[in-house]
Amino acid sequence: MNFPKDLQYTRTHEWIRYEGESAYIGITDYAQDQLGDLVFVNLPEVGDEVMAGEPFGDVESVKAVSDINAPVTGVVEEANEALADTPEAMNEDPYEAWLIKVGEISATVDLMDAEAYEAFVAEEG
């Protein structure tokens, strides 16, 4: 299981990577492993507002549909539309396959660093 050091993590298994005033958001390696092969993804549209701790989209695997929660409150600047055609990218490289890029960030849920998240996963799993 991979836990890159340059990311921060949520208790609901999303990662966030800040770039200047904006941030990229995706699902973690642990999340994709638990979900299994992903077949669909629903993303918000550019300009939509996302709320820290609230679902902004969902991913569907052959097992189930799961909400994806926003680590931050902000406005969607980009949505990774390519994932609609290649949802397997989230399985293959979950830290490259970002879902949305968020700007105008105003609030944040409690985030963990890689070490804390790894310990959290070990405890939960």
Partner: protein
Amino acid sequence: MKLVFERSRAGRGTAYFPPLDVPAWTPETPLREQPPRLAELPETEVDRHYTELAKQTYGVNDGFYPLGSCTMKYNPKINEDMAALPGFTGLHPLQPEHTVQGALKVLADTEKYLCEITGMDAMTLQPAAGAHGEFTGLLLIKAYHKSRGDEMRTKIIVPDSAHGTNPASASMAGFEVISIDSDERGFVNLEELKKAVGPDTAGLMLTNPNTVGLFDPQILEITRIVHEAGGLCYYDGANLNAVMGIARPGDMGFDVVHLNLHKTFSTPHGGGGPGSGPSGCKAFLAQFLPGVRAVDGTLTRAEHSIGDVRSFYGNFLVVVKALTYILSIGASGVPKTAANAVLNANYMKEKLKDLYPMAFDHVCMHEFVMSLEQMKKDTGVTAMDIAKALLDGGIHPPTMYFPLIVHEALMVEPTETETKETLDEVIDLFRKVYEEAIAHPETMAEKPEHTPIRRPDEVQAARNPIIRYAFED
């Protein structure tokens, strides 16, 4: 096997049409531009096609079918006999009432018995399936709040262990869904519920026994909390088989229910359907019921009916089958059925729990949930692999990966119609598969080995479904 279109040859067929004895008439401009592309086969070929399909599938008539939360009980043949009576099959839905008094009595009696079993006062038989019944019940709740001018009530509370159809139906009915966590015993977390209710609560949706097969002993407290906040309580009848004739949703404080005749009341389920999902309610909601109900030999529409949720009387012949079932087993058979369903589930659970870790090791109701999380961690073998291996033993596997709150879940519902001998054979099979998974985990990804189709590519099927025949020209 060959598809029916691959067996087809132009000009072949079997025609049993009688000679035309009325003037021929063809519309000048047909509604469709091209004739439908139907397969052309002689009767022998048609017969062989369907027989070949039947050999590749698996139903309750083939063997054990413990699909959890689905109540795949045996469908007695007498149900089919009654539904095939020409007095029922030859009816037209618009016949004058005085010519269909028998059918109206079927509707009225079924409603009466189902109300007695659920503790409701009135019921519509119109909904054609479980989720359709949920949607109908939620529209009743909506109509109720609206009729009192209380349009602030926009939220439906659903526990995280609920059937996926509950939040989906609530969304379809225009409500916002509030999900609340279960406690460590798998029951509704009362503190969470108290925090979730308020002046915006339209209602709560719950199944009891819940989706992990446990009867929530706090049920009276739960319905009281929701009622005190001004909401209504909705009972999902998916798990009624465990308690029918013993405990009634109406007595637990529920205001609205739906039933699945194709689960609890022994009508065919799945491909053999169609389904039927009656929605029942307490007297104060009866004014909003959809469709028409048979009352004293007359079809009557409720005063403030929400309208129709389906044409006419729902799947009428399915209702005939369910009524046949209720009358066959009788008042004493209803609770006995529930008791046997619970006994069978507990018997299997006790005989398996030393190998298969139970998600919640209480006395269960009609079903139980095992978690293969530890097995996956230790050996890499998943719940899916175990389910696939069970196919080689000639049974249908349990429900997989549900409820979502249990990781690597397998959910087993044996139903009451299985004998002890069958249960013993199946217990042996489960144990053998478990032992094989521990001894040779590397072989499990190859299961099943002896079925007509081995592992379909589910990922490919979901990403790139091929859902119709591609003609060459």
